[in-house]
Symmetry: C3
Subunit: 339 residues, 3 copies
């Protein structure tokens, strides 16, 4: 069986990150969820065995450009095939990075690459390409190419995954990425953890792993990143709480170039046919490449109103502040529809 | 519900515009309708409310290249989401330009970007990229990105739409496009009108709005276009008549650089399982950038034979003449299939 | 009726061609079949007439890049529409090259552009882009753009096709590609033959037809290729045998620049729920551009295990040797799923 599926999300708003000289008035794409579509399928192979595949693409509702940015790969969201059975799940191909699910499941704004403070700190740099104001914390993209993922069966809601990304560098089998993730989801409590060690770039290999920017901070020198992360959420029904912690070390030619510590805390309060959402993320960054320690704090308040299970309207306001720079405000009013 | 849909159109022919040094023998794409495919969907939200989306892509049947031209955005045809109710319809995202439907509905060759005289004058420049023989009349593409469209409910067949395209220029909220359109369709008579004011390019922002060509006419200097258009059609059953008029003013740094006047007249005569089609478009162009007044006249005669509601064969011959240049002839024999 | 269809194929392995300095460890795409997906449809037009279309895209399971390589056209696999009836089949648009089916049907590794010796010799150059170790034998891609294909009805399993590709060069109707193919398939015996004469490049026109490489062998000078091919297979049930022969002449400015002779022989032996596969291809190359005669021999041994009709696992080992260069070995272990 094949299923066609996706989501379309658009918003009107004004965007400004801390350090941006001016705001931009936009009719933007993906205020809450990056727009995407694609196909998935599965086949029952008998003996408890199943084949599965996903081929899915991001796109921009505002311009019709495919991918998350100009130059992205068409099926950067998913291009993979898997064998599932009593042994667990073995998947080959392009798929989400090990840190992706832990980030989007443990903050109230989910997979918003526009307004979720945690996701912004983890994956979205600010400033222009090649001249970043603030590089993202996680290296090598929110999706990994050339990836093998083995996931254990679920034991009372606990699963672990081993991720390996082949670097595909001729004669060099060491330029690869590896990670272990664990997820627990049982009743009101959910927990998550991952560790990763990254040496190759994404979505395509051979580039700088963290950012191409060379000045004022030479992020392009970073050639290895190690990180560990823990996250938790608890659903009290009248309120759901979220919290995460991540430590990230970036080496440049064997020297600790950048050191990040990110914490986030969030809350979702059911109200009417929707929910009031609030989240704050705080990152402290230091290291030889970076110079003096600086911090970035981002907080978002929103209301998500459900027209149906598949369609919602949202209104959000976000403040973003990097130490010594002024606070910048962003706003959005949008609609999200999934199919 | 989701629907997969599209159309495939290919033709064998020879193409030459007035001013082209030589003809090109082609196996071409989209003789009658630009080939495309995509998905649409809608969801009943109750209370008379409905969510809708369109994600559709143009492609070239001859080479398999996506988009209308190399470098086009993948979903340049549609990438939008809308809320529909008693209040009308509010749509966010990439969609057709305000002038698109009035142009394709009020000429007998419909949305043919290869053989419809009116569509060619409105949207398709001649000559090479960057060295145009004749720039199109309408600026900023036949689709608008970053667009909000509000459409009123229908009153006895009359609807109006307000179009706004955010320019998304940092610190400048004035570089945007706006338009109002009106459509009337009731019985044999149909009427259409639009006005637009254009200050930003498409499908991507920041470029020249009319054409990048700088010599011999510096179209790239045009920074604002204002236009108004009226169209009418009447179906006498034994014959259907079409007529349109458009006035277009292009400013370059506050001076009237180009002034176009386009009229078209067409006829469709049912014959056998198909129809004989004829259309002529005439554009007069003047203005300080352009120098002396020149005109372009294009006429097409065709026969469209219906194999079924979804599949037709067509044969067309087109003459194209720019003042002082020789008449050039184009021919095509093709098949169109929609799904 | 419209059908969504495709195939996803990924493998873990190590790849090295003869002349490569080092092996590359990969999580690769398309070990057995190049991953693809798309839509096809057909409409019954009555009177024995039918309309058909195919719009299909290759993609890379490992990175999510569309096409067979970066820069390929999105729908390079298929973008065509056809009319089918008692007269045969007339198809317009992008589709497979005349040599494609004869190559993939007459070797046991089918359409593997990674491990089939015959397909590798015919269509896949080795070495880097612009600095090939060994150029492929067939010019102008395994798909032809701007193509008209007429196929006769089947007479007791025998069909012939005429292929024409318009070169679409202004004022020059001679820069085109033509071919005739014949296929016979009746009972255990299948036969195939084609001749082609190629003067234009693919998937896009105007480039060198064979390869852009200029040194040490100036393949870019080749401006016409003529080839003839015969293939046969016989299914004895306990074993299926395959054999092909191709002679290829490449002219550069009227001089015979390259002369190839390719033979291949293969066998498929059913074993358990799968089959043991073996194939060897041998190409001898000479000519004024090339200098002294050299040869390339490639052999692959594999086992293909069927989990179902639509899903299989495969393990392959391949040796590749160009005269005077050492033998290089490649390995792959993969999964293929079609939908």
């Amino acid at each position: 069986s094949i299923t066609l599926m996706g989501g379309v999300d658009a918003f009107a708003g004004a965007l400004k990150n801390s350090g941006d000289p001016q705001h931009v008035t936009v009719l933007g794409s993906g205020g809450m969820t990056t727009s995407w579509f694609g196909v998935k399928g599965s086949e029952d192979l008998g003996s408890g065995l199943r084949a599965e595949f996903f081929v899915t693409s991001f796109f921009q509702t505002d311009t019709g450009v495919y991918g998350r940015f100009a130059g992205d790969n068409l099926f950067s969201r998913d291009a993979n095939v898997a064998l599932v059975g009593g042994f667990g799940r073995l998947q080959l191909g392009r798929a989400s990075a090990p840190g992706f699910l832990p980030n989007i499941l443990f903050n109230p704004f989910g997979d918003s690459f526009t307004f979720s403070p945690l996701v912004l700190h983890s994956y979205v740099p600010t400033g222009r390409f090649g001249a970043r104001t603030w590089a993202s914390t996680n290296a090598a993209d929110s999706g990994w190419s050339n990836q093998v993922v083995y996931t254990t069966p679920s034991y009372n809601g606990l699963r672990a995954s081993l991720h390996f990304q082949a670097g595909e560098k001729a004669g060099d089998d060491d330029r690869n990425n590896i990670a272990i993730t664990a997820m627990y989801d049982n009743g009101p409590l959910a927990l998550s953890a991952f560790v990763h060690r990254i040496r190759d770039s994404n979505p395509n290999p051979g580039g700088p792993i963290l950012d191409v920017t060379q000045a004022p901070v030479n992020y392009a020198l970073v050639d290895e990143q190690r990180a560990w992360f823990v996250g938790a959420s608890y659903n009290f029904n009248v309120v759901k709480l979220y919290g995460t912690f991540q430590r990230t070390i970036n080496d440049a030619a064997g020297i600790e170039g950048l050191r990040d510590r990110t914490i986030s805390a969030g809350v979702a309060i059911p109200a009417g046919r929707g929910a009031v959402l609030f989240d704050v993320a705080d990152t402290r960054r230091s290291g030889q490449l970076f110079g003096i320690e600086r911090s970035r704090r981002t907080a978002t308040l929103g209301y998500d109103y459900r027209l149906s299970k598949r369609t919602d309207l949202y209104a959000v306001a976000m403040g973003d502040r990097i130490s010594e720079l002024p606070t910048a405000m962003s706003y959005g009013l949008g609609i999200r529809h999934s199919f």
